[in-house]
Every structure is written in C-alpha cells, then in structure tokens.
Amino acid sequence: MATTVATAHAPAESQTGLWSWITTVDHKRIGAMYGTTAFIFFLIGGIEALLIRIQLMKPENTFIGPDVFNQLFTMHGTTMIFLAIMPLSASFFNFMIPLMIGARDVAFPRLNAFSYWVYLFGAIFLNLSFVLGGAPNTGWFGYSNLTSTQYAPGHGVDFWAIGLQILGVASLAAAFNFIVTIVNLRAPGMKMMRMPPFVWMTLVTSFLIIFAFPVITVALVFLLFDRFTGTNFFVPAAGADPLLWQHLFWLFGHPEVYILILPAMGIVSEVLPTFSRKPLFGYPVVVYSGIFIGFMGWGVWSHHMFSVGLGPLADSFFAITTMMIAIPTAVKIFNWIATMWGGRLELKTAMLFSLGFIALFTMGGLSGFMHASPPADLQQTDTYFVVAHIHYVLFGGAIMGIFSGLYYWFPKMTGRLLNEGLGKVHFWSTLIAMNLTFFPMHFVGLLGMPRRVYTYAPGMGFDTMNMMSTVGALLLALSVLVFVINFLASIRGGKVAGNDPWGGASLEWAIPSPPPAYNFASLPEVHSLDPLWHKESREAALASNQMRGPIHMPPNSHWPMFSAFGMTLMMSGMIFGWFVGIPGLLIMLFSIYSWAFEPCA
C-alpha cells in the first residue's frame, strides 16, 4: 500500500474504476456513495409509501392485504428514517465537514469507509426480509409485546432488530468520527464560535447519536434475547412490563427526531445567509438554540406515551418540557427571517427549498405544539393528525432541507450546477404536492381516522381526503422524478460551476469544484465567521490553494469493507445459522486484524 503523495503536478484524484471506490477512504467519495445509496433507499421508501396510498385511496380497497400493508408501513418508516434521511445527512457530513473546517479528510478515514459499508450491508440485510419470509410488520417503533415470538412468529422482527443493530454500528462509528474531526481538525483560527452553523449542527447531531443509539441497542438486545434465548424482558405472562420497551425506544426515538432535523436546520442556516447576502442573524443564539434543542430532546420522550396512563404528574411534566422545546425552535425561525430582513434575496432553487423548510417546518412545529398538550393529544395520537405532523417535520423539514443542501452544494461536489429551471419546477411541484398529500391528513385524523389501518369503512367521511392524499402522493413522486432527471442531466451537462457559484462565506467555496483529493493545498487560516466575506480573511482562505510542499494522503484500504461485510454476515447468522455466522465472525476478525496492522505511512 503505497502512500499517495500529491504534488501540485500530480493530484491524487486520478483514481478510477470500481475497486478504487470499494477501497476509497476519501471523505468526498464516501460522501457521494452515502448520498447515492441513501437516495436509492429514499426512492424505495417512496415506492412503499405510494403502495400504502394506493391501498388507502378508497374505503375497503383490496389492492394489498393487511399483512403486506403492515410490512409496507413498517419498512416505509424504518427506511425513510434509518436508510434515507440519516444517511443523506451523513452524506453532507462526509462531503462538506472537512471542506468547511479546512481539513484534508475526517479524523479516521478508514473508520469512515467502514461506516458506509456497514450502512450499505445493513440496509441490504434489512430489505432482504421482503424475499426471505416477510418483512417486519410491527411498525418502525416495534412496540412490545406485539414483537414477541408469540405474536410475531417468523423472522420479520428479527430482520428488523438485527438490521437496526447493524445500522447502529454505522451511525455510532460515523458520529465518533465527526466529533473527533470537528473538535480536532479545524483550520488554524477557526474557534468553536467561528464554525459554520452546519458544522455546529453536525456536532450536536453526532453527540445525540452517541448517546441515543446505546439506548436502542440495549432495548434491541433485550428483544433479541427474548426472541432467541427465551428470556422475559418483555413477556407480560412472566410479569414483564411492556412499557419498558416504550420508555427505552422513545428515550432513543425522540433524540432521533432531532438527529433527523438538526442537520437540515444547519443546511438552512448556511443557505439563507448566502442567498440573502447577509450574515446569519444572531449566530450565537442560533447555535445555542440548536444545542438546547438537542439537550431538551432527552427530557420529552414520554410525550409519545400520553395514552399509556403514566399518571397526571408525569403527563404534566412531559407536557411542559415538550412545550419548552418550542422556544428555541421559534427563536431559530425568527432568526432565519431576520437574516433575510434587509438582505438582497436571490431566489435560487436552494434558497426556495430553505424557504419551503421554514414555512412547512413551522406548520409541523405548530401541530406538534397541539399534541404537546396531553388531553388534546389523547384525541390526536395514533390518528392521521400525527401522520400529518411527522410528515410536515420530516418531509417539510428534513427532506426540504436536504434538497436545499443538494442544490446548494451539488456544484461543489460535482463541479456543475443543477439546472435552475428544472429545479424550480421541482420545488413548486414538491411544495404543492406535499401539501396536497399531508394537509388533509390533519383533518382526516381529527375526524377520527386512526393510523396504521389498512382499510376503513365507507360512510365515515374519510373518502375524499384520502383520495386527495393519494393524488398528492402520486404528484410528489412525479416531482421527485423531475429531480432525478435534473440530477442525471446536470451531472454531465450542467453549467460549469467554478469555485464559488453562489458567493458563499465559508471555506469550501475557496477551493476548486470538485475539490482535489487533498481539498486544501495548504491549510487555510481563519480570522472570522464568514472568511470569504472579509477582504483580508478572504485572501488568507484563497491562499490555501497554493501548494507548499508534498501532501500525505491516507492510502486506500479494502479492510473496512471486508470488516463491515464480516460483521453483517456474523450478525445475520442469528437468522441464517452458524454456518453463516461463524465464517462472518472469522472474516470480521481477520479484517480488523489486517486493518490494525495495515501500514498507513
């Protein structure tokens, strides 16, 4: 394994071919692989949603039966959360964080590759369940005791529990990597309070992951013990309290919501200043709000459990903590609007999606405020009102933010601009279709339609609104198709972007698009929060393109991929048997050993 030595004349990005992708440790290539894979799973999750919507378009429809329906909504939720939104955010973390903090790569490049491969194999493993005896069908929240072997025989729940464990390894490894990267690899002069807001939100998200995932890991270990070894953690007949699962799950699950939304908030906080030609209004307050949201996310989990009967005191406590989260959220929204106030707004597609984020996330926040009040929640929980709420937060929020980031950073990633005309079609069709799909769900929920039902009776007044949602979902699919076309056309034929197509403020815009393998020829020096917007600090940043000697880049390695493969194989042995698990274990051990002793110059 030779050390790649990049010089001004021989940059290191000349690697091509499949093997170079499999062995790459370049954060940009890993980011691209994360993004592509996650987008494919976003499409798969979308197809699952479409099938759900077709089934529900009229009462007593027989398009798909209840068993397949339950599998679809379970996999739709699981896929969108763990296989689409989180890794789409991870794609931005990977690609952008080193560029934004002025680093050559992440702190642990091979661990970074390992995270990606674990994610990919875990995602494939989870989806194999569709063809190997049925996907999980107990909801993405997998409430015990419906997940016990008595009520969920078959391997669906096993695929789900083991799949989430595998994916958890990927998330944890990535989170540790980004914490170390952000804390240690910032360019000289970039103090914590000079970090771009997206970097801050990545840091907060990574901390949430390392604290939240151990909780779900413990819960899943209990569940797997119950299912494979006959323990009784969640078996009521043996005296267990199934609410244990709900507490553990939501103690993970609510921070998870912020894991999904904070990166999008970070993206919006980058995009708005750039296209307003104005610095972020109240940067410290926006940062502290993000930290406060992340912190408070740990004190609200039982608002998912108002109907289980925790008693008036607990309900009051969690109602008040939940309402308190509205404060930093409101602060962020007003700071974003104030950022635009007095600016010169360029309504590019990236900006439109950020504006869409503010408008739609506000609606999701307000419906969330409505079920922060437990008595009101008792009418709303487990109805389509909550389905509307989470989709305003996760589609209107997270996905709109991610699209905004895609239009914003696509030129940096590929060297070419996405087509603005198609981008605007994409934005407006998404905005309209999104509201057509999810807005009626508020009402159909308040009018009494529970969620997770595969059928409903005629004469309940649900028909028209369900048809609207189904039509909206189909339009939404078309709007995503517009994006796919734009993406495929622009990646080869888009307008050449140059270093800085938007006039951005942060370091990534100082270097070529796409960036060379080593990112910065020499490490930049940072003197302010918006280095490219100040005359002297701009020159200091641009000076980072000048080569001042040879650059040592980490060599490629195939061991991260083999370690990930071995680990997935080992864990899948729980379902397939020892003859799969033992070889998996051996491959994993050998790969980790080889990884540890691999010369890395």
């Binding site: 409101a330 104030a338 409505m370 009418q379």
Partner: protein
C-alpha cells in the same frame, strides 16, 4: 409579537373570528357525515378536551399567520431587484432576540396552565357513583363487562346518558387503545396494567369507535359501537342482558343450531351462559341483541353471519376464530340459533 389589546371586547371579537371560523367549518362536519369525529364532543370529558383544543387552535392560527405573512412579506420586499442596495452586514439584535424568546414562552405558559388543569381534572378520581365497566382488548375485538350488573358482552358498549361511567381498561394479549372520539380521548390497554377513563355522556345516540394502537394484522377491523341510552332504555337493556339465554325448541332450526354449537368446537372459545364457558372469543349469551358482528365490522344479519361462521378468515384477516369447515346446513342452523339469542 401578537396582536394584543386590553379591551376585553376586542379580544373576544378576535377570538371569535380566529377560532370560530375554522372550527365552525369543522363543526359543520356533523356526526352524520363524520360519525367518528373527535370534534363533536358528547361528554364532559370530550368537552374539556374541546375547550383546550380551541385555545390551542387560537394560538396556533395566530402564530401560523404571523410567521407565514412575515416570511412571504420578507421574501417579496427584499427579493433581488435591479438597483437593490448592498445589504448591511447586521449580525444580530439582542433586544429583538430576547423579545422573540420571551414571547413564545409567555404563550406556552398561557397554554400550559389550562393543560395541567385539564390533565388533573380528567385523570383524577372518578365520581364515586360512576357505573363501572371493565374493558378488555382482545385481538381483534373488545369485551365489555359490567361487574355490578353481572353482564358480559362484546363490541357494543351501552351506557346511560347523564351518568358517570368509569372504565377499567385491560388487555388479554397485546397493547390496544380504547377510543370513542365523541366521548373523549383514548386510553391504552397495556398488559399487566389497569388503566382508567371516565366520562359522563350528554346525548343519546350511537357512536362508532375503534382500536387506535397497532395490535396486529386485523387492527383496522377492531371496531366497536357506543350506545348512549336514556336511563330507562339502559335499564331495560341491562335487564334483558341479565336473563338466561334463549332456549330454542330442539325440533326447530335454531334448536338444531344449538346442538351444533354444543357439540362442535364453538364451546371451546365462546361462553353462552349455562351452555359453555370458553373465554377466547366473545360471550354470545345475548348475541342476537347486538347490531354488529366480528368486532363491529359487519352488520348483524343472516347473510353476513352465515358468511362469517362459514369462513371467518375470509371476512376478517388473521382472526383467531377457526374455519371449522361447516356444511351449509350446519351454518344455517347455527345462524338461526345465534340470532335467536336475543
């Protein structure tokens, strides 16, 4: 941040416009069109929730309007136009930021107080004279027991109007959620827990409800009906339910059906007082008096009942009721017997 005035008349007017308009729209959604609506309260409990919801909607609409108008106005006013000035690099404004931190906090306090009051009011002790009903969730039907009256029935809950009832909610298998939207919020049935819910229904009528927590394959078919009756009608119903089951003459069709029932596998799961003691399926002692079958999924008529008894899994996916492979004669006899159990 919010339009406020000390004049109570103005505030009331504002509240009327902001709350009443959309709620009037929704209230226009009558129970006839939307029988399972949570916005047509018919009990004290449901009204407490409705009042709270009105306050929430009031604030939500104000904030929604404020943010969206501000957002759209900002975008239109400051959009890039030829000759637009270079923006001032403003980094923040402490006074403003404190203002929009405190304003939401005040609104939250205004809603937190009635919220906590409503929580304690609806989750306190039930009225002492309340009629007790034990609710048991099963995959996929609801059982209702009236311990003080010695009645056990399924899928259809009867309560007297203007009298407090308290439900002790339990489950026989997985978690379910008990929900009649017209009389209030839902409450889960959790293994090894007994949850409580009480309300006083204020109008006579029949209202649908259903399980609200995913409980397996036929979760969507776990429905129920609430009959709010006048005191005399309720007493009459209770009296009829307490009677022993109808004993058809053994020479009639219904009598043959009774034989089929008693000699078949039916007795393993179903109770008919004096005849069988199964508890896996619904108590059928007064089955003929019910208006619906199969977890209130189908109307109780000869045709539906025959199809149900002949092939339950075809009518309700996953049902635990077995397909006994009955021949048409057996089915006809069983249907006649079951319908005779008024």
């Amino acid at each position: 941040m919010v339009v406020r005035s000390n004049r109570p008349g103005f505030r009331r007017w504002l509240a009327a416009v902001i709350v009443a308009a959309p709620l009037a729209l929704l209230a226009g959604c009558t129970l006839k069109e939307y029988p399972q609506s949570s916005l047509n309260p018919h009990s004290d409990y449901a009204w407490i929730i409705q009042h709270l919801l009105n306050q929430l909607v009031f604030w939500v609409l104000i904030i929604f309007t404020l943010v969206q108008v501000l957002l759209i106005y900002t975008v239109l006013r400051f959009r890039n136009r030829p000759g637009a000035p270079e923006p001032e690099p403003v980094h923040g404004n402490t006074a403003l930021e404190i203002a929009w931190t405190v304003a939401p906090a005040i609104i939250l306090a205004l809603i937190a107080v009635p919220t906590v009051m409503a929580i304690f009011k609806t989750q306190g002790a039930a009225p002492k004279d309340a009629l007790e009903i034990k609710v048991v969730g099963h995959q996929w039907w609801w059982e209702f027991q009236y311990p003080s009256l010695g009645i056990t029935t399924a899928s259809e809950m009867h309560v007297p109007v203007n009298k407090a009832v308290v439900m002790d909610i339990e489950t026989a298998d997985v978690i379910h959620s008990f929900w009649f939207p017209v009389v209030g919020g839902k409450r889960d049935a959790v293994p090894n827990h007994t949850n409580h819910l009480f309300f006083t229904a204020d109008s006579i009528g029949t209202f649908p409800g259903q399980c609200a927590e995913l409980c397996g394959i036929s979760h969507a078919n776990m429905r129920m009906k609430l009959f709010v009756q006048s005191a005399s009608d309720f007493d009459a119903w209770a009296a009829s339910q307490k009677l022993p089951p109808n004993e058809p003459d053994s020479t009639t069709l219904a009598g043959r059906g009774k034989q089929e029932f008693a000699n078949g596998a039916c007795v393993g799961c179903h109770t008919i007082n004096g005849l069988s003691e199964g508890t896996i399926g619904p108590n059928l002692t007064h089955f003929g008096s019910r208006t619906s079958i199969a977890g209130a999924t189908y109307e109780n008529n000869t045709d539906n009942l025959a199809k149900w008894v002949a092939a339950p899994d075809k009518r309700k996916p996953g049902t635990l009721m077995l397909n006994l492979g009955l021949n048409p004669d057996q089915v006809t006899a069983l249907v006649a017997y079951l319908q005779s159990l008024k």
